[in-house]
Each structure stands twice: as structure tokens, then as C-alpha cells.
């Protein structure tokens, strides 16, 4: 199953962490959604978010009318989910697999620092996507333009997100723990 949930960052932190305040946006079978993911997103969630960005939301509380614009802050998911929704390729065993840099897979495990020219940025991302060259898009580790880029205040390359479980807990923290425990 694929589920899309959202939470309101304006709520106090004590409320944000409870399940009652994480809201469902849609629910579908993953195999049904994967066939045309970006189109489906643009017709459902993105359409609603665009309306919220431009028109905002009007609340009537205690007889007073309040109006707020609503903006997407970030997207959180596992690596496969993020690559799917951001329009990157969904294959992690070769090529350019990182969402933040252009270092190839075989050099990622030995590289200790990222040269500035190897970092991805919005200009190069847009340039590659708008060229329409399928081979160039594939070489850059991309697959298609993300529907999220249709939003006014959100671009997938400007708002990278990490997979808390795979990137940090199972990889980075483990590396830090073993590295420093053996060094000490």
C-alpha cells in the first residue's frame, strides 16, 4: 500500500507527534499508483496544494474570520518513496543514486568529501529536465519531472530530505559508532 499523510507544523510539538494529528491525504495500492505516479499526484494532492498556496484557507473561529496561505514545507519518506515522488530513478545499485550529489555509485563508498561542482542544484536539474534528452536525463540519475515542482514555493532540488531509517539509523549512526569505538 502507498499512503500519503500530512501534518501541520504550526501545531505545538506535543500534538504533532501524536497519531491523532497526522492526517491522511490518500491511500492506494502501490502497484496501481506506480504506473502513472506523477500524473496522479498532479491531479490529486498537488492540485489541492496549489489551490491552498494561491487561495489559502479561511477559518472562522469565535465569529472572527482569519485567512492563511498554506505552503508545503517538506516531504518525508524512505529512499524509494522519495526517489519515486521526486522523479529520480528507483534503482540504487549503479549510476548516480544520490539525491544531493552526482558522485557515481562505485565512488560513493570511498569518497570522503564532495567537490562543489558535483553537488546537484536547481539550475542543472531544470536544465536537464527541460532538455528532454532521455539519455541525458538517465545519465543524471533522473527519470521524470516531479509534480511537486508545479508548486510555487517548492522545488525538489532545493528541499532535499533524508531517509531517517536507512540513511541515519542504519548507516550513518552505525558508521559513527563503529568508527569511533574502534578508534578509541
Amino acid at each position: 500500500m502507498t499512503g500519503c499523510y500530512f501534518r501541520i507544523l504550526n501545531l505545538p510539538l506535543a500534538l504533532q507527534s501524536t497519531y491523532e494529528h497526522i492526517f491522511l491525504a490518500f491511500l492506494a495500492y502501490a502497484k496501481d499508483l506506480d504506473e502513472n505516479l506523477q500524473h496522479t499526484l498532479s491531479q490529486t494532492v498537488i492540485k489541492q496544494l496549489k489551490a491552498l498556496e494561491s487561495k489559502g484557507i479561511t477559518l472562522i473561529v469565535n465569529g472572527c474570520e482569519h485567512h492563511f496561505p498554506v505552503v508545503l514545507f517538506n516531504v518525508v519518506a524512505d529512499n524509494l518513496g522519495l526517489h519515486g515522488i521526486y522523479g529520480y530513478k528507483r534503482y540504487f545499485a549503479g549510476g548516480k543514486v544520490c539525491r544531493m550529489c552526482l558522485i557515481p555509485y562505485d565512488q560513493l563508498k570511498v569518497a570522503t568529501r564532495v567537490p562543489p561542482n558535483m553537488l546537484r542544484n536547481t539550475v542543472s536539474y531544470n536544465d536537464i529536465i527541460q532538455s528532454g534528452d532521455a539519455e541525458r536525463i538517465r545519465q543524471a540519475g533522473l527519470r521524470e519531472d516531479s509534480a511537486l515542482n508545479k508548486l510555487i514555493h517548492f522545488n525538489v532540488q532545493d528541499n532535499p530530505s533524508v531517509d531517517m531509517m536507512h540513511d541515519l539509523r542504519k548507516l550513518f549512526y552505525k558508521f559513527i559508532f563503529f568508527h569511533y569505538s574502534f578508534t578509541v
Binding site: G3, L9, P69, N74, V75
Partner: protein, 320 residues
């Protein structure tokens, strides 16, 4: 016999420890400004934050509505510890003989509260059964009817006093009137103000062959996804005055040294700057065009709703 938990502050009776804790947090604690495992009295100016046991003792002396409240009933089961309350914090002086007194003290209020709690439990049970999707509606209806009969039968413990019994029965009937059948239960749910109805969105069309002993039929099926309107959800949640008054705005974190919130990061500050500049510009334009827009636009300052999408993937083990 059912366990009951009595609030030391207001004599509110709950049937489960979880509901009792929810009642304490929602009614007597300043939840929006305190971590959930600490309690702060809402009825006095004492700023001290307390653990549950201290809070319970404090309420006996603080609350003027309950001069000599009975002790709470002990519960060994702390598996539903939603608020990080340790077993050591639980009240240990159980008073089993208070069970009857709770029911007998003030029938007009206590019995109604018990019936309200039972009704809430029954409604939660019904929604849980419906959401599983593996039990047919007629079976769920039978189970709900059975629950209703059991509650009605339980009320017969009050037959020693006809007046109380009649009053409790009448209240029971009024509560169950709107949920006597599956149709009424669904209607009550959909008409409630907090309900946001999911809608279908067609994804793919596919051809499915259905074979019987006599013939094969080709049918066109549409795979759908369920979506819930984000705008409607936001309106439903945020129009609650308590939640609305507790909202935190990006302007609070713009020059703050408090870094434990996403608004304190670069993205939060950028969004705040974009909207502040945009709003100032819009206000000037609006002032030139139509003066009455000023009041409404003035309310925008420093207030931006921000959403964070959680996109989760997981495998479904199909039962087919």
C-alpha cells in the same frame, strides 16, 4: 465488574485508564505548554509541574468542587501508557469498596457519565470493525445490537430504585436512538462536524474475466484510490478554538534562539520572508484599489500555515 477511574478534581468517571488520562490531560492540564508526562494544575496559579501521583494529591487540596475525593482505583495494567506515566507514578491505594459509591452517590450525573463512556466505547468498537473491512456489515450490526442489549441488561442492577432505573433507561434509549441501526449509525457519523468523507479517484482501467459454470463474462474494472480533501481537513481541525489559539507561527521563530522547531531552519525563515514581503506589497496595492480589504489583509502578518507531507511506502500482504 468493570473498573472505573474517578477524577480527583471533578468526579468524572472513566471506564479505562487511557480515557481517564485523556480526561485529566484535556480537562485539568495545560497540555499545549507542557510535555504530556508532566501535569500542571489549571485551577490555581501554582506554576509547578508535577508527576501524576503528585498531581493527584494536589487536586485533593486544590479543587474546591471536591472537598474529600475518594482515591483512584489501582490498575496493574499500564500497557496503554500513552503519556509516559511510569508504574511508580500510579496511585497505589486502591479502594475497591468505592465502586458502588461511585454509582450510588449522584445517579443523575454519574450514571449518565458511565452511559456516555459506554456509548463512546461502543462507537469506537463499531468504527474499528468497519475499518477492518473483513467483516460484513450485517455481522457488525448484530454485534452492535448485542452490545446494546448487554448494556440495557446491565442497567437492571438499578431496579432496586424504580426512579433511578427509569431515568437511566430513558437516558440509555435517548443515547442509542441515533444508532439503532447501521443506517442511523452511518448517518450520525457522516453528519458529525468532524467527519471528512473520502472520495474515489480512478487510477487505471483493466479488463477482468469472470468465469462461471455456464459462461465467461468480460468486465471492465477501475482501480481507485481513496483521497481526503486537505482543505476540508485543515478547516475541520483548525476551526477548533483550542487548537487555533495554540498555533505557532513562523514569525515566532524568525529571530529566536530556539532551534527545536523546523520553522527555526533556513526553509522556515525563507518562507516567512517571502510571505512577509508579498503581503506588504499586496497590502499597498489593495489600499490603492479598495480600502475595505485592508482589515482582512492586516490579519495575515506573520501567519503562514505550513504542511509537511509524509509519504510512506509499505508492502501489503494480500489475503487473496
Amino acid at each position: 465488574m468493570l473498573q472505573r477511574f474517578l477524577c480527583p478534581a471533578c468526579n468524572h468517571v472513566d471506564l479505562t485508564l487511557q480515557r481517564h488520562r485523556s480526561h485529566v490531560l484535556n480537562t485539568h492540564c495545560d497540555m499545549f505548554h507542557n510535555p504530556p508526562n508532566r501535569f500542571k494544575c489549571k485551577h490555581c496559579t501554582n506554576p509547578k509541574e508535577m508527576v501524576y501521583s503528585m498531581y493527584s494529591r494536589h487536586m485533593r487540596t486544590c479543587s474546591t468542587r471536591n472537598a474529600n475525593p475518594p482515591m483512584l482505583q489501582d490498575s496493574a495494567d499500564i500497557s496503554d501508557n500513552d503519556y509516559n506515566i511510569n508504574a511508580d507514578d500510579e496511585p497505589t491505594n486502591a479502594a475497591q469498596d468505592m465502586d458502588n459509591e461511585i454509582l450510588l452517590r449522584d445517579p443523575s450525573t454519574d450514571i449518565r457519565q458511565v452511559i456516555d463512556n459506554v456509548k463512546e466505547l461502543c462507537d469506537t468498537f463499531w468504527i474499528n470493525m468497519l475499518s477492518q473491512g473483513i467483516i460484513c456489515k450485517s455481522t457488525i450490526n448484530e454485534m452492535c445490537n448485542n452490545q446494546r442489549d448487554l448494556v440495557l441488561k446491565t442497567l437492571q442492577v438499578l431496579t432496586y430504585d424504580d426512579v433511578k432505573y427509569q431515568e437511566a433507561t430513558m437516558y440509555f434509549k435517548s443515547k442509542w436512538k441515533s444508532s439503532s441501526t447501521e443506517y442511523y449509525r452511518t448517518k450520525t457519523l457522516t453528519e458529525s462536524l468532524t467527519f471528512v468523507k473520502p472520495t474515489k479517484f480512478g487510477l487505471n482501467d483493466r479488463i477482468q474475466i469472470e468465469a462461471t459454470n455456464d459462461r465467461e463474462t468480460i468486465r471492465q474494472r477501475t482501480d481507485c484510490m481513496a483521497q481526503i480533501d486537505i482543505h476540508q481537513t485543515l478547516q475541520t481541525v483548525l476551526q477548533n478554538p483550542d487548537i487555533f489559539n495554540s498555533l505557532q507561527m513562523p514569525s515566532t521563530f524568525y529571530d529566536s534562539t530556539n532551534f527545536n522547531h523546523p520553522f527555526a531552519g533556513t526553509r522556515g525563515k525563507e518562507l516567512y520572508e517571502v510571505y512577509t514581503v508579498f503581503r506588504r506589497f499586496t497590502r499597498i496595492i489593495s489600499f490603492c484599489r479598495k480600502s475595505e480589504k485592508i482589515t482582512l489583509l492586516f490579519n495575515f502578518i506573520g501567519m503562514t500555515m505550513v504542511l509537511q507531507i509524509l509519504y510512506k511506502l509499505q508492502l501489503l500482504h494480500s489475503t487473496k
